[in-house]
Amino acid sequence: MHTFYNFVSGPLTWIAFLLFFGGSFYRIVNMLFLVNKKEKFIFSYMSWRYSLRSIFHWIIPFATTNWRRQPVLTVITFAFHICLMATPIFLLSHVILWDESFSISWWTLPDVLADVMTIVVILGAIYFLVRRLSQPEVKYVTSASDYVILTIVAAPFVTGFLAYHQWFAYPLIMCLHVLAGNIMLAAIPFTRLSHMLFSPFTRAYMGSEFGGVRNARDW
C-alpha cells in the first residue's frame, strides 16, 4: 500500500498536473490557432467591455433571466462550482503537502468548513445526477459521457470525505482519493470538463456579438 501511495502521490501526481496545465495550455492555444486560421473575423468582434459585461452577469447568481427562472438550480450550481474549486485549493491537508514538498503555503479553510463544502459538492453531484435521470429535457441529451464526467468530479470528494473521517480502510481510501484527484485534473482539458477552460471564451464572444453588433443584452 505504501508503494502504491508513493506512486499515486509521486509520479502520477506529477503526470496529472502536467496533463492539466499542459493540456489546458494546449487546448486554449490550439483553439486560438484554429480561430486565427479559419475564423479570424472573430477577433475583430471581440470587445473587452462587452466580454466582461457578459461574463460578470453570468458568474453572479440571479443576475441573468435564466438564473432567476431556475432558483434551485442556480443556488446549487453556484455552491457546487465554488466549493469544487475552493475546497481542494484551500484545504489544510493539501496546503501542508505543498509546504512539505515545495515550502510554499497559503491561507487555509477551517477543517469543519472544508468538510461542509465537500458535502456540498457531493450533494450537488447527486442533484445533477437526479436531474439528468428525471428531467426529460436533460435526460434526452444525456449520454454515457455525462455520467462519466460527473463520476470523475464526484470521486475525489467522496473519497476525500471518507479519508478525512477515516472511515473504512483508510490507507486504501487515501490512495483512491489521490488517484481520483489526479484523474479529475488530467481529465479537465480532455473531456467536456473543459467547459472550465472554454466557457469564458464562448461567453465573451457571445457577449461581444450581442453588445457590439446586436445592441442587446445576452443575459
Binding site: F41, Y140, R192, N215
Partner: protein, 450 residues
C-alpha cells in the same frame, strides 16, 4: 417519451427534401458533410460542441419546446443532438433518412431567433449550429421546395419574387400615380444620384403589397426626405438564400445591394419593415463579403420612423385610438436593439400601448422567421403548432384590451397573421407604416423631395 408530433412530420411530403434525399448515398453524404466541416467550420463548431455540458438550460427559451408541452426533441440542444452531434459522432457517415429528418429540423423547427443564446450559460450559439446544418443540406441538395424556389428567384432575377426587370419601375410609377391623387406633386425619385437615402424593400412589396410603397412615398414626401430608389437590380434587400444555406447567392445579393447604393452615391440605406432583410444586410451578408460591419449605414424602418418623428419632420394629427400591442421582431430587436425606438414610435402614434411579456430582447419569435414561413404550405402547421406559446401571449394582450397588433417585420406579419387566424385571437395586424400613414398630418401640397 412519446413524440406524436414527430410521427406526423414523417407524413409531410416536401418535394424538395424528398427528391433530394432520394438521390443520396451514404458515401456522397459523408463526402459532402466532411467537405463543409473541413473547409467552412472551425473553432466555433468544435468549441461549442466540446463545451456544451448537456444541461438542458436552453430548453425553456425555445417557443417550439414550450409549445409542444416541453417535448425535449424540440429543445434547442435536443435539435443539436438530432443533427450536429450525430453527424460529428459518425464522422459524417449518416443515412439519407437521417438527413431527411435533420433537414426538417433545421429548416422548419428552428427560426434561428437566437433566444437560446441568451439562455445558455456558456453563450453557445445554437442558431449558428443550425445554420451549419442548413449549409450541409444546401450542399446535399436537400432543401424545402418553396424556399428553394425563392432562392432560385434570387439567383435568376436578383429579387425574391420573380419580379421582372420592367415590372419594378412600372410598379413604382403606378404607386407614384396613385399617391399623386393625394399629393399632386409627389414623386418616387428613381436613380437620383447623390440623394441622402436609398430606400430598399423586399420583393413581396412590389409583388403584392404595393400599398406599402405608396405609404412610404407619402411619408417620405411629407417628411421632406431626399430619397431615391434604384431602377436597376439591387432594389431588393431580401435574402432567402441566407436561410437555405446558399451563402454564395447571399453574397451576390448583398454585393448588388451595396454596389447599387454606392453607384447612387447615397449617404445611407433605409429599409422597409422587414427583419430578415435587415439581418442579411447588417449581420450575415456583409460578413460573407468581408465587411465586419456593413459598408453603408443601414437604417431599419423602425429607426427611420423614430428619427423623423423625434426630429418633428412628420407631425401626428390624431393618435391611433385603438389599443395596440407591439411585437418585437427578433432580427431587429435581439439582432439590433431597436426595441426602445419601436416603443418610442408606438407611443408617439398610438393612444394606448399594451405590452406583451416577455418582451424586448426576450421576446418570443413569431415562428415565421429564419425562412420557416418560406418553406410554404407543407410546413404551415409545423409553424403554427410550434408557436402556441406566442398565440397565448397574443391572447393575453387581447384580454388586456389590445385590438391591434403592430408587427414591424414582413415575416412576423405573415406568421402572426396565421397564428391569429388559427387560434382565433381576433387582432388586426398592422405595420408601423400603416398607422403612421393614417395618423400623420398630410399637407394639401407636400414638400417635394429635394
Amino acid at each position: 417519451m412519446p413524440e406524436p408530433s414527430k410521427k406526423e412530420e414523417n407524413e409531410i411530403v416536401d418535394e424538395g427534401i424528398d427528391v433530394g434525399v432520394s438521390r443520396l448515398t451514404e458515401d456522397k453524404i459523408q463526402s459532402v458533410i466532411n467537405s463543409v466541416i473541413d473547409a467552412e467550420t472551425g473553432a466555433r463548431l468544435k468549441i461549442y460542441v466540446d463545451t456544451c455540458i448537456h444541461c438542458g438550460l436552453c430548453s425553456d427559451s425555445c417557443h417550439y419546446y414550450l409549445s409542444h408541452n416541453n417535448d425535449p426533441a424540440y429543445s434547442p440542444v435536443g435539435k443539436v443532438k438530432q443533427t450536429i452531434w450525430e453527424i460529428l459522432k459518425k464522422k459524417g457517415r449518416v443515412s439519407p433518412e437521417f438527413i431527411r429528418n435533420a433537414a426538417i429540423i433545421a429548416y422548419t423547427q428552428c427560426n434561428l431567433c437566437k433566444r437560446c443564446a441568451q439562455y445558455c450559460p456558456f453563450g453557445i450559439d445554437i442558431a449558428y449550429l443550425m445554420l451549419v446544418v442548413r449549409r450541409i443540406m444546401h450542399k446535399l441538395g436537400v432543401t424545402p421546395l418553396y424556399i428553394q424556389d425563392t432562392a432560385h428567384s434570387h439567383s435568376v432575377t436578383m429579387n425574391q419574387m420573380w419580379v421582372k426587370g420592367d415590372e419594378w419601375p412600372d410598379t413604382l410609377q403606378w404607386q407614384e400615380e396613385e399617391a399623386q391623387t393625394e399629393i399632386p406633386n409627389l414623386r418616387i425619385p428613381l436613380e437620383k444620384e447623390g440623394a441622402d437615402i436609398m430606400y430598399s424593400v423586399i420583393a413581396p412589396e412590389p409583388k403584392f403589397q404595393a400599398q406599402l410603397i405608396y405609404q412610404t412615398a407619402i411619408i417620405m414626401n411629407v417628411a421632406g426626405i431626399d430619397w431615391t430608389m434604384p431602377a436597376s437590380v439591387g432594389w431588393d434587400n431580401s435574402d432567402m438564400a441566407m436561410y437555405t444555406g446558399d451563402n454564395e447567392i447571399m453574397g451576390r445579393l448583398k454585393r448588388a445591394h451595396f454596389e447599387t447604393a454606392e453607384r447612387l452615391k447615397v449617404k445611407k440605406i433605409v429599409m422597409g419593415e422587414c427583419g430578415h432583410a435587415f439581418r442579411s444586410v447588417y449581420d450575415m451578408g456583409n460578413r460573407w463579403l468581408g465587411w465586419s460591419m456593413p459598408p453603408f449605414t443601414i437604417v431599419h424602418a423602425i429607426e427611420f420612423y423614430h428619427d423623423i418623428i423625434k426630429e418633428g419632420r412628420i407631425k401626428i394629427k390624431k393618435k391611433f385610438e385603438q389599443p395596440i400591442t407591439l411585437h418585437d421582431p427578433c432580427n431587429v430587436v435581439r439582432g439590433a436593439g431597436l426595441h426602445e425606438k419601436a416603443r418610442y414610435v408606438a407611443h408617439a402614434i398610438c393612444e394606448k400601448v399594451i405590452e406583451m411579456h416577455p418582451n424586448r430582447e426576450h421576446n418570443y419569435c413569431c415562428g415565421a422567421g429564419g425562412g420557416v414561413i418560406n418553406t410554404g404550405p407543407p410546413f404551415k402547421m409545423t409553424r403554427i403548432e410550434g408557436n402556441r406559446i406566442k398565440a397565448e401571449q397574443l391572447f393575453s394582450a387581447k384580454t388586456k384590451g389590445a385590438r391591434v397588433l403592430i408587427a414591424p417585420c414582413h415575416n412576423c406579419h405573415s406568421g402572426l397573421h396565421d397564428l391569429v387566424h388559427h387560434y382565433e385571437i381576433g387582432l388586426d395586424i398592422k405595420f408601423f407604416g400603416d398607422i403612421i400613414y393614417e395618423v400623420m398630418e398630410k399637407p394639401e401640397l407636400g414638400r417635394e423631395g429635394k
